[in-house]
């Protein structure tokens, strides 16, 4: 069974439920304090939260931690690296993914459920979806407004849409470029997303649509 590290920075706060969700998806998972090492892991998840309280910019300080060098190594080896919310911010700040996550168009924290259109299934995290499928999960962020000046090295993985999968301005909760909610690198093994799939992995919590992100990741790591 593949084993995943869920990295905990000071202020990370979605680590416990992310570990539980990976287990539910059939993987092993451990919380790993950011000063520990990543050897022996088959993949890494950077969970959501407020590392360093979002002081300066979301993810900016964590991205400069030593452990990120190890994450870069892992990514280079082709192992799966998933960043959720604050984790996505860390990935962009660490240049593992291009672009930046700017303050929402209404500069406030926004917690609500949204629809996403799955734009690509050939990544380590989306193989369990159908292309064009519309799924539901919550967002919860103040800086999720994706911006990049060059998208040539990126695969758009998830886009904010309406219920019918239409990518329209009205369905864009934070002003992000092209309604981008999640992107991956060209290789498909590094993915960052603002919505929280781990919060949509239990029928009682409103949806199980998110679980397939982790199932895809577990399957990919097994390969």
């Amino acid at each position: 069974m593949p084993k995943f590290a869920v990295i905990v920075f000071p202020g990370t706060n979605c680590d416990f439920e992310t570990v539980e969700t990976i287990k539910k998806a059939g993987g092993k998972a451990e919380r790993v304090w950011y000063k520990e090492s990543l050897k022996d892991f088959d993949g890494v998840v950077l969970p959501g939260g407020f590392s360093y309280a979002d002081y300066l910019r979301g993810g900016a300080i964590s991205a400069r931690a030593e452990i990120m060098e190890e994450v870069k190594e892992l990514a280079k080896e082709g192992k799966p690296v998933l960043g959720i919310c604050n984790g996505f911010q860390i990935l962009t700040e660490a240049k593992l993914l291009p672009g930046a996550l700017r303050p929402n168009k209404i500069p406030r924290f926004l917690c609500r459920w949204i629809y996403l259109r799955v734009a690509v299934t050939e990544t380590a995290f989306t193989s369990f979806y159908k292309e064009g499928e519309v799924i539901r999960m919550p967002i919860a962020h103040a800086e999720g407004n994706y911006y990049a000046n060059n998208l040539s090295k990126v695969r758009i993985a998830f886009q904010y849409s309406n219920e019918n999968g239409e990518i329209i301005e009205d369905a864009n909760p934070n002003g992000s470029l092209l309604n981008i909610a999640g992107i991956s690198n060209e290789n498909g093994n590094v993915l960052g997303m603002m919505p929280h799939p781990e919060r949509a992995s239990d029928r009682w919590l409103g949806s199980e649509d998110g679980l397939r992100v982790f199932k895809s990741m577990v399957k990919y790591a097994k390969r």
Binding site: T21, A53, D54, R108, F109, L110, A140, R199, L205, G206
Partner: protein, 718 residues
């Protein structure tokens, strides 16, 4: 401090206390820390039943959820600091109650924020509102504790002021309970967290005095800068330390700072302590011993541990990069001794700090004098449609989505029922959830504090029943003006009696609470504002919401509607301050709430909503707007006690009522379950239609209604 208190101290001590001692005594004897004018009355509240593990007395209450799960709950106000600096005041209010939960050994899992303001037309009130919400959001979100519900009320009487209450629940295994007192001597006292600064000095005494007009300039010392980053680290470090089983006692530093935490920790079971105050890490230069001892700097915890465990425990603090210091130790003699740079600067019998004599304020009888505003008035005649639009667009009725969207209500992955419904529900295990809700009704309490207080309790219970939850426990937060005013003190006592009687009727206990006196601005009292938060247990399968489910479902009212509009939202929007507050009939409340729970358990109802602010009209509208489905009802079918005008049927705020929707085939079974039950219409179309016999009273599309319901951002000028 009063002259007779000073005399008492002189006698007990046999000498004048020195300056340091005096400062510490003053802090511990302040109203806020000692409850000296409320304690006697609080004793009336029931505090025991089969669920209660630990009632009031420590930092938070503890109840049994099941064999493996213990729930900790508390409530706190941060009114004065929030009125002065809304962002920091509200945020540090969250921090304080979270540490209260934490110091019992529990992981904080949810917050509620009952908050109250003056009318939004005034810039100052708008400013207070926006920044209180931002403060709660920034703090709660950053520490990863979801804010899953609350209340937001606007009332003229709070112009320029704000009431910020926060309730928190935590979860732990029964074995993990840590007390706030020690039961052995020789333990080391370890102070962990933020450095100590001058902030909050005189904060406790500040919360015990009325806010004066230029408070902003004067009370700088009472305002603190929130530090959610350190708080989050404290949460994780504390829980990791507690897991070792080696934490012998634990307390957060709140009002009264180190003096309060250490004296209560040591003195409760008759031990004493020596504090080496100069060891306390100081944030500001040249602090003196008094400042160090009573500073209320936030995000600090005090641990009592055995010397041999020091290394193991402090390693955890170091992992989280938290500063820690051994600041003292527990001794056998019941004395409170403080050293400062090697010199003994205080030496008191410890019970002089921890046992404060009760002083009774003047108690007076309610006089049918100027305060007695409860008198019957006639409901003016207005067109129902017009009245409906007025009430629906009242800031107290419209959706609070603008507020709770700023709160991370999903973090930790437990939130089954999210904000915007009758009560929040958190998933505790694969079978059961915990429901959590808060209610306050100052407009009733102002008219009739006894019934107003009962209304808080029964509304909370109705909210729980509406989602399918059986009540487990209560906590109360009593926001009042100066108890030195006879009418305020009287209303306080009446409130307690109401809280007592309502809880007793349901065999419920108050496991924790908080009293906040001296809530006045410019010499004007606030309305008596008791706020009750309630916990309930619900089978996940039984969770029900207020949303209509299918067209064709029947709609029925449970309970009787009387002409009870005093304190109602209709009267408020019409500018009527008088009237008679709704009366609470505890027997009916109990019957109907139990009936609803049974109906839910048997799967007979599809949607349930209690009737509260805004009466039947608003309750029905909320069920429609949440679901998107319309309805048609004939209000002449509503069970009434006396003859009521249609307007009164629509907007009366009689208690003990619910609205349910259900499939036709369950009608007979439901009828049998309730004494007062009447079908009034059905779920239908996309319009809200109220008729009385053949007269059309109100007709408005759900879409139009939602537009009004969602108008809070517009009121804020967005």
């Amino acid at each position: 401090m009063f002259p007779h208190e000073e005399k008492f101290i002189l006698k007990k001590l046999g000498r004048e206390p020195n300056e340091v001692e005096k400062a510490m005594i003053e802090v511990m004897w302040s109203e806020h820390a000692s409850y000296k004018s409320s304690r006697k009355w609080l004793k009336l509240l029931p505090t025991k039943n089969e669920y209660v593990i630990l009632g009031p007395g420590e930092d938070a209450g503890v109840i049994k959820f099941d064999e493996n799960t213990t729930i900790v709950v508390g409530i706190e106000s941060h009114n004065h600091p929030s009125a002065v600096e809304p962002y920091g005041g509200a945020a540090t209010g969250v921090g304080g109650i979270v540490r209260d939960i934490l110091c019992m050994g529990a992981r904080p899992i949810a917050l509620l924020d009952p908050i109250r303001f003056g009318p939004l037309e005034k810039e100052r009130n708008k400013y207070l509102f926006e920044y209180v919400v931002k403060g709660i959001a920034d703090y709660g979100n950053r520490i990863g504790v979801p804010t899953v519900g609350g209340e937001t009320e606007f009332d003229e009487s709070l112009d320029g002021y704000t009431l910020v209450n926060v309730a928190c629940i935590g979860i732990m295994h029964p074995n993990e309970l840590v007390h706030s007192y020690v039961t052995e001597s020789g333990l080391l006292l370890v102070l962990v967290g933020n450095k100590t600064g001058r902030d909050g000095i005189h904060g406790v005494t500040f919360a015990s005095e009325e806010l004066s007009e230029n408070a902003e300039e004067e009370d700088r010392s009472a305002v603190q800068i929130p530090d959610p980053f350190t708080e989050k680290l404290l949460i994780e470090a504390t829980l990791e330390a507690v897991k070792t089983g080696k934490v012998k006692a634990l307390k957060d530093l709140g009002g009264g700072g180190l003096t309060c935490a250490s004296s209560e920790m040591a003195g409760k079971k008759g031990f004493g302590t020596v504090i080496y105050a100069d060891r306390v890490p100081q944030r500001e230069p040249n602090m003196n011993v008094m400042e160090v001892m009573i500073s209320e700097s936030q995000e600090r915890m005090l641990f009592a541990i055995r010397e041999e465990d020091l290394e193991e425990i402090t390693k955890i603090f170091e992992k989280y990069e938290l500063e820690w210091t051994v600041v003292g130790e527990i001794i056998d003699e019941p004395r409170y001794i403080v050293y400062w740079n090697g010199e003994k600067v205080a030496d008191l019998p410890i019970n002089l700090l921890t046992e404060v004599p009760i002083i009774e304020w003047e108690i007076i009888e309610w006089e049918a004098g100027p305060y007695s505003v409860e008198k019957d008035v006639r409901t003016p005649e207005i067109v129902p449609q017009e009245a409906f639009l007025k009430v629906l667009s009242s800031p107290n009725i419209i959706s609070k989505e603008w507020v709770y969207r700023q709160y991370d209500h999903e973090v930790q992955g437990r939130t089954v029922l999210k904000p915007g419904l009758d009560a929040a529900v958190l998933k505790i295990n694969d079978e059961y959830g915990l429901a959590f809700v808060s209610d306050g009704n100052p407009s009733y309490s102002y008219l009739n504090p006894y019934h107003g207080a009962m209304a808080c309790v029964v509304e909370a219970i109705r909210n729980l029943a509406s989602v399918g939850a059986k009540p487990l426990a209560l906590v109360d937060n009593l926001n009042f003006a100066s108890p030195e005013r006879p009418e305020v003190y009287w209303s306080f006592i009446e409130t307690i009696k109401g809280l007592r009687d309502a809880a007793n009727a349901f065999r419920l206990a108050y496991v924790s609470g908080n009293v906040s006196f001296y809530n006045e601005v410019n010499g004007k009292s606030i309305k008596p504002t008791p706020v009750v938060a309630a916990l309930g247990k619900v089978k996940l399968e039984h969770i029900t919401t207020m949303a209509f489910k299918d067209e064709g479902d029947l709609i029925a009212v449970v309970g009787v509607t009387n002409r009870e509009l005093g304190g109602s939202e209709l009267y408020r929007v019409l500018g009527i301050r008088e009237g008679i507050a709704p009366r609470v009939d505890l027997k009916k409340e109990k019957e109907n709430a139990e009936g609803i729970l049974k109906a839910i358990e048997h799967g007979l109802v599809k949607a349930v909503h209690d009737v509260s602010r805004g009466g039947l009209a608003i309750a029905l509208a909320e069920m429609a707007m949440v679901s998107g489905l319309g309805f048609e009802v004939d209000i002449s079918k509503v069970p009434v006690e006396a003859k009521l005008s249609p307007l009164e049927v629509l907007f009366s705020e009689s208690q003990a009522r619910f609205i349910v929707s259900f499939e036709k085939e369950n009608l007979e079974k439901l009828k049998e379950m309730f004494k007062d039950f009447a079908v009034i219409g059905e779920v239908k179309g996309r319009e809200m239609v109220f008729k009385s016999n053949e007269d059309k009273l109100i007709r408005i599309s759900v879409k139009e209604g939602r537009k009004i319901y969602g108008s809070l951002p517009k009121l804020l000028g967005e």
